[in-house]
Assembly symmetry: C2
Homo-oligomer: 327 residues x 2
């Protein structure tokens, strides 16, 4: 992708869903407690439109209170005025906002089962392709983000199924690598070929299916995320779509993040959260949360629209005060 981005009619697409892989104890902290994890994707999406969540009371956070990266995306959308469309690709709980559905099932726990029926994945990919085709006609630049707890585990499994030796990133600095590796190794035994549909059906998740489908209908897409987008970019290598990845420096600084496996250009966005006055935001620089909900990509576009790093930090802190601290 050329580095000249036509932001005039840019569109951010947030694809959200669930995999029951997130129910494996200890595999994800994308929720304050196990019961809340399934609400994280719809609540992230609600936050982006309304500056607050509707399906749950507080915004998604880790058990010790680190806020969802949707907060950064919210700030970037507010500053850039880039439009947002939310895509349900396998949600347990539907968001209370307008959203597009691709008819995806919830993903199974890949530690125990194949993720989805192949026919379901094919249907989702077909629907995603239609959506990608329609939106490509309107938008000058498509940027796609995700929210799916345990998505780094399914991404690791997809990468391993493709023949890589993935390391796999996480929303925790003490990344439960051994647990993930065990799940991934078990899951990959169920893969019958290197065909993307087979890999997604066997060890992927419905968000992976939805984004892969969207890429089938597009010419150029900016994938906003870390390990998950690296997996999708590899699955999409044979498609006609020109893909780039954009993510946060927090992912790039993570030795487990597998960005080196990206088959395409990777843009890394600096976000000066280390200098924040709020511990909840500084935590990102210490390796917590790091990325998600397209935070790195939308921050990147905010910079492209002329917003300076320090100004962005100030605006994120303003939203943090209003949304998290409620002052």
């Amino acid at each position: 992708m050329s580095k000249n981005f036509d932001l005039e009619k840019a569109l951010f697409i947030l694809v959200i869903g669930n995999t029951k892989t997130a129910e494996i104890p200890g595999i994800t902290v994308a929720g304050a407690n196990p019961e809340l994890i399934k609400y994280t994707p719809p609540a992230d999406a609600e936050l982006l439109y309304h500056g607050k969540c509707i399906s749950i009371e507080s915004i998604p956070a880790t058990p010790d209170g680190k806020p969802t990266p949707a907060l950064l995306t919210f700030t970037a959308l507010r500053l850039t005025k880039i439009p947002l469309l939310v895509v349900d690709s396998g949600l347990i709980v539907k968001p209370k906002i307008p959203h597009i559905t691709l008819g995806a099932p919830v993903g199974e726990n890949i530690a125990k089962f194949r993720a989805m029926e192949k026919e379901d994945v094919e249907k989702v990919v077909k629907n995603g392709k239609i959506l990608g085709e329609q939106l490509s006609k309107l938008a000058s630049l498509l940027i796609v983000g995700e929210s799916i707890p345990a998505g780094t585990t399914t991404a690791g499994a997809a990468l391993k199924a493709l023949g890589f030796e993935p390391r796999v990133s996480s929303s925790m600095p003490d990344n439960p690598v051994d647990l993930k590796r065990k799940v991934i190794d078990e899951a990959v035994k169920r893969v019958h070929s290197k065909d993307p549909i087979e890999i997604i059906s066997a060890v992927g998740d419905p968000v992976m299916a939805g984004i892969f489908g969207i890429l089938n209908g597009c010419r150029r897409v900016l994938l906003a995320g870390g390990t998950q987008m690296v997996a999708i970019a590899n699955l999409a290598k044979s498609l006609d779509c020109e893909v780039s990845i954009v993510t946060t420096e927090f992912v790039a600084n993570d030795k487990n993040a597998d960005l080196s496996l990206a088959p395409c250009e990777v843009f890394v966005t600096k976000i000066p959260l280390a200098r924040s006055r709020y511990p909840g935001l500084r935590a990102y620089a210490d390796g917590f949360v790091k990325e998600g909900v397209g935070a790195g990509g939308m921050t990147f576009l905010a910079y492209k629209k002329g917003i300076k790093e320090e100004e962005f930090l100030k605006e994120v802190e303003r939203d943090y005060e209003r949304i998290v601290l409620k002052v």
Copy 2:
């Protein structure tokens, strides 16, 4: 609205749903039999993306086989390559294609009950507004069509609630005017004020709520339809959105069609179906079906894109052969 349409990034939005008013025997022929009527909106939408229906075997038709106006819209979309997004605003059966949901309930039978809870209408309008805002940022021209059996009856009730004496169009030439008038008169007794939300809640339908909501988030919209769009344009008079209506000559030639009640500019599209070699298409010129699924508006845009009337007829006949006659 200026007559210079910027078609470069035009977007067609099809808003579909159901009202149980369609279950009143004899009130609509938007389906081959009463059981099939509820499938008409999703099947219309599927036809536009796939050139065939998925939820039912044949395309929607009247009991004596006159085809859905979605056929004209399909041809126009194919020729113009204008993108389409489908919006579920109160469907009984969901279409098997990607679609946006506004969280609308199915509308009640207004002969007996208020159409919807006011809180539900407010929610749909809020969601529609968000959607309108996002799509307005992308599209240079928004054109909105509808598919909801018995929608002319709820439209007539909304017009009467606003203080008009509507005549009310229909998909039949022997329009069951007396039956409709009885339903409308009964329904309007339940209206408490001239507030649009109150009127939609009391005697409207969910598609009316969805489109009214979308208009709340837009600056300029082309409403593609007949009586139903006249009702919506009147409900939307106090909004900031500049509205125009575009419909077929078959509606304009119908003395019951109420176009004179439009509070805005009305464009009328000639479609030379009277000269078709197929009786199913000639029927439109005899007062059957006449309009729906944005057929008049999308034909209008096809002409604006330089397609000639005779060429359009030929292309519609080609699609009729493939889709209806299956030759």
